[in-house]
């Protein structure tokens, strides 16, 4: 069955992620333990760290050690906070995933109508205006967009908080709107460009002509047949771009002072806290694989042809 095949495909990727994450440590120039601990480290601490990471062992022993730890959900202990990294990650992951969810919803809410309008009104003014969106939007740095939005909506208009997470759930939701919008705008240009092409392909397809020839009313043609067919490439596209989206949220969190995995990662970089950086990188990559798997399986559910190939 397709599900099995798709899962089987994901496994080497997950393995690959672990390998890459494993090797990141070994790319640090010089002695990783010393580089990271720097002046703070006493010789005993450095030796202890080297032992923990097995840096003196042969490489496959090191990898095996790494995998064992990972299997137990142990992604190391923070050098800075001296708690297991997974505690830190667990406390932050909710914020990041909520942000990603908001961003995904916003990006779909913005891109799909725009792409549809552009496709239906092809070559007319609306189409040209919408086609300018990818053009202009592609080069917009996410953090800059965030700052501009803060300037306009938070500072000048006062509609939204300048940053922070809030204390209650309604406050959380409220606080996620601007950052969610900012992250969404990171992939909206890509989505609009590709969706528009996909929409056009569907609209000009022979089977839509067949449906129209039956005498069906246009709204039904659009809503049932066009939408149903266009949703599949949309999902696939979303899956492809989710990696980019998650990457953007990392920076956006910093701009809006949200306490998520992104800020954790960036703070840990300033603290030279490698295990945390490693842990966060791994978790984020894993979530990309998981989300991709979810979108692919959903697309297969909707499109019988995928199950065949």
């Amino acid at each position: 069955m397709y599900i099995v095949r798709r899962l089987a495909q994901a496994i080497p990727v997950v393995l690959g992620i672990t390998i890459v994450t494993f090797f990141l440590l070994r790319l640090i120039p010089g002695d990783p333990a010393m580089t990271l601990l720097g002046n703070r480290g006493t010789p005993e601490q450095i030796a202890a760290l080297r032992a923990r990471w097995g840096l003196d062992e042969p490489i496959w022993v090191q990898f095996w050690l790494f995998l064992k730890q990972l299997a137990h959900g142990d992604t190391g202990a923070s050098l800075f906070y001296e708690v297991p990294t997974r505690t830190l990650i667990a406390s932050r992951i909710g914020v990041t995933m909520s942000l990603v969810a908001f961003a995904t919803i916003f990006s779909v809410l913005i891109s799909v109508p725009l792409a549809t309008i552009a496709a239906i009104r092809k070559d007319r003014p609306a189409d040209h205006v919408i086609r300018a969106v990818p053009l202009v939007g592609l080069g917009m740095p996410s953090f800059w967009v965030g700052l501009v939005l803060i300037l306009i909506f938070a500072v000048n208009l006062g509609w939204f908080p300048v940053g922070g997470w809030g204390d209650t759930i309604p406050e959380h939701i409220y606080a996620l709107i601007l950052p969610g919008l900012t992250s969404a705008l990171a992939i909206v240009p890509l989505l609009v460009r590709s969706l528009r092409v996909g929409m056009l392909e569907v609209l000009q397809a022979d089977y839509i002509a067949t449906v129209r020839a039956k005498g069906l009313r246009e709204p039904r043609v659009l809503l049932v047949h066009v939408a149903r067919n266009a949703i599949i490439p949309t999902l696939t596209l979303l899956g492809i771009n989710i990696a980019f989206l998650i990457g953007a949220t990392v920076v956006v969190e910093r701009v809006f002072q949200l306490n998520g995995l992104g800020t954790l990662m960036l703070t840990s970089i300033s603290n030279r806290d490698f295990p945390v950086v490693q842990g966060v990188t791994f978790v984020l990559a894993l979530s990309v694989v998981v989300i991709n798997l979810a979108t692919d399986l959903t697309a297969a559910r909707l499109d019988p042809r995928i199950r065949l190939s």
Partner: protein
């Protein structure tokens, strides 16, 4: 080509005719390029940005690193066209030099991934078999890492600054080129004439160089125009995060960061560098669209 036709693909009259005069008449690609509005617009915008960056040493008004603590956060004036930043440095000059660094880095950094990616992709698409499968898995793995996350981590690990940027991109950015070139090569390889060439006894490097590469590399070039935008975005983001070129050297990203505390009073300090990135992005995108049209096989 004396009179300019009113309708038809050569409409646009004198402008097109004049350009034709400047351009080699006999080369069909260049002629097609001269008529493509997207290409011309993009190239012009980009050209202006590059020109400003190149001329930075001559058109800046103050040394970009020179501080003047008696005149911090000045408003725009004849003296300082865009005012001064929090250390009294002339914003216009810093903007120019930042552009110089960001644009140059963007264009140079992208060369390594293009080369690596094209070579690997061509070999994978041509020889197929298990190296191809392995490569596809590797590409999947690299693409599983969120773009900025991997770059930030690599820069952190390898070291900040220019060296870190080059290495980080060399390790991550080649994948899309490899993927694009690989599928192009697969398609081209299936066409009859390349099998015929092989059957005719041509050696592999010759086939690759003469027959396959010219067809696949155009795809890579078109993608490169978007990729340069991404690279510049990443360089600027690294600058914003303090992981790029180190202070006090100017970079659009770090300028945005410097200006952030003063958003309410001196909003242009953060806004204008961002606009520069956006404009560059527009130029590159238009150029890419135009190139795609021109290079598309009829």
């Amino acid at each position: 080509m004396s009179a300019s036709p009113v309708i038809g693909p050569n409409a646009g009259g004198d402008q097109a005719v004049a350009l034709e005069g400047l351009v080699v008449r006999s080369h069909p690609l260049l002629r097609k390029a001269a008529h493509n509005r997207s290409l011309i617009a993009g190239a012009s915008i980009l050209g202006v940005m590059i020109l400003l960056a190149v001329l930075a040493p001559w058109i800046d008004r103050y040394p970009p690193l020179e501080q003047d603590l008696t005149n911090i956060l000045a408003l725009p004036s004849w003296e300082h066209w865009l005012g001064t930043d929090q250390l009294g440095r002339d914003v216009w000059s810093r903007l120019l030099w930042a552009g110089r660094f960001d644009l140059a880095t963007g264009f140079l950094v992208v060369l390594i991934p293009i080369t690596i990616g094209t070579i690997i992709g061509t070999l994978a698409g041509y020889y197929k078999g298990w190296p191809d499968t392995v490569l596809s898995r590797i590409i999947d793995v690299v693409m599983a890492f969120p773009y900025y996350v991997l770059i930030i981590t690599l820069v952190f690990v390898v070291g900040k600054g220019i060296r870190g940027i080059f290495i980080a991109f060399a390790l991550t950015d080649w994948v899309t080129y490899a993927r694009t070139v690989r599928s192009s090569t697969l398609v081209v390889g299936r066409l009859g004439w390349s099998s015929a060439a092989k059957g005719g006894g041509l050696s592999d490097p010759r086939i690759l160089g003469r027959h396959i590469l010219p067809n696949t590399i155009t795809q890579a070039i078109v993608y490169a125009t978007s990729d340069i935008v991404y690279v510049i975005l990443a360089v600027v983001t690294l600058g914003y995060l303090g992981l790029g070129i180190q202070a006090p050297a100017p970079d659009w990203g770090s300028m945005i960061f410097d200006g952030q505390p003063f958003m309410t009073t001196r909003w242009w300090l953060s806004t204008i560098p961002g606009l520069c990135v956006v404009i560059t992005g527009i130029g590159l995108s238009l150029l890419g669209d135009g190139l795609a049209d021109v290079l598309r096989p009829e």
